[in-house]
Point group: C2
Chain length 276, copies 2
Amino acid sequence: MKIAEKIDDMRKLRRRLTEPVGFVPTMGYLHEGHLSLVRKARTENPSAVVSIFVNPMQFGPQEDFVSYPRNTQHDLALLDKAGTDLVFIPQADEVYPQPFSARVEIGKVTERLEGTARPGHFRGVTTVCAKLFNIIQPQRAYFGQKDAQQAIVIKKMVTDLNMNIEIVTLPTVREPDGLALSSRNTYLNPHERQAAVVLYQALSLAQQLYANGEKNAERLRQEIIGLIQQQPLANVDYVSIANAETLDELDTVKPPALVSLAVKIGRTRLIDNIVI
Amino acid sequence: MKIAEKIDDMRKLRRRLTEPVGFVPTMGYLHEGHLSLVRKARTENPSAVVSIFVNPMQFGPQEDFVSYPRNTQHDLALLDKAGTDLVFIPQADEVYPQPFSARVEIGKVTERLEGTARPGHFRGVTTVCAKLFNIIQPQRAYFGQKDAQQAIVIKKMVTDLNMNIEIVTLPTVREPDGLALSSRNTYLNPHERQAAVVLYQALSLAQQLYANGEKNAERLRQEIIGLIQQQPLANVDYVSIANAETLDELDTVKPPALVSLAVKIGRTRLIDNIVI
């Protein structure tokens, strides 16, 4: 496994890889969700490239950029074991040499859900992904369904800007009790960790009610909110039932619909979703 | 010479070209300025690709998108003669299938001069160039110094977004009396055509005054404006003396400085510039 910290080195090492190249962009502190993406990239392509970069541009000023968990040596060992060919692990001033002023804006699908809760977040995600795609020039890039809106936004960027990349989305990986894997789960104390299962329980309830015939989106939202409010450590940020492509909120559930939510468990903000 | 109207066809034909590929994006109605770019692309690369696309996104609502001159058959004959390998000539709905919402924003260098006079213009230029670069995947792209700010903006986009393309800028091609070639010169009636030489005369005056020791930018601006105001058909839009990379306005001229201006001759808005 090769490792590059500089863009020029990365381009040189990339040129030697057998195409097609599968690429997994990450912020590190890797878990089984990331590794499922890497293994898929490895299976579907002769070459697998992973980036580890905690991207300051996608964090708001009040958010957890500084405290975001990092464990590079452990990450590299996991990536090596998963069959990664090349890792890009740049410093912030390599990615954003000053003065830096470009932005990739995707519009409507970035202006709701996480985009409303985290202004500027998706501008940071799309700008860094455009840069990484240009540096790494993958044929395929892999994203987790856990960050459903992110995958939708990236697909829209690729479509609108004619990037010649296939975006592959893979299922959310969960703990045995249903909690979606997230690097931020490390923020949870044992009580919060137990409480955090309420996100998946609420999504499962919605799925079950829908399967039993409930098509009214507002009633489903209220059922989800009601369940979460029974958990004293939980505070709902948003609950959405939206068209899974346009993210327009629905009155009547019509598949494929994205049921997504953001909930604070103590001071930790978690997101999860299902598609029905 | 091959011609493609669809993106898929373009990608297929592009794959067959010998690399490196030189690319010249145009809005058609080609003149010797465009052809100098095509010939350079042809000389520096085994393959030369040209696009012809009057890009609606870079025109303001009150601007000349509808009346912009078009002459495709003549353009294709000129391109064939200049040694073009492949021409991309898409319709607007091929480039912007609805719903289309992505934008590439470059920030500061787009917010002055033409960016102030034509809000949204550079957003249209950079978005379409990002798309064309992704479709055509050239190793080099060629722009004319006549649109100096455009070349600066495109270079900034390529740098900030790590596009793996060399941007080549070639000198402005002029008529014998000094008027910079522009597709918009066709709007001028014979009186206006005579009057239009005042842009180049004003730039030449500034260059001469600078050579004679005048380093005060404001005095140079006033001399330029004074000369243009002697021409009754001319109305100054702006006169700028700025750092040729950052476009920050200068108090004291220090090379390389971009002396640029926009002047209306009758109803036709023309731009020109020199670097001192």
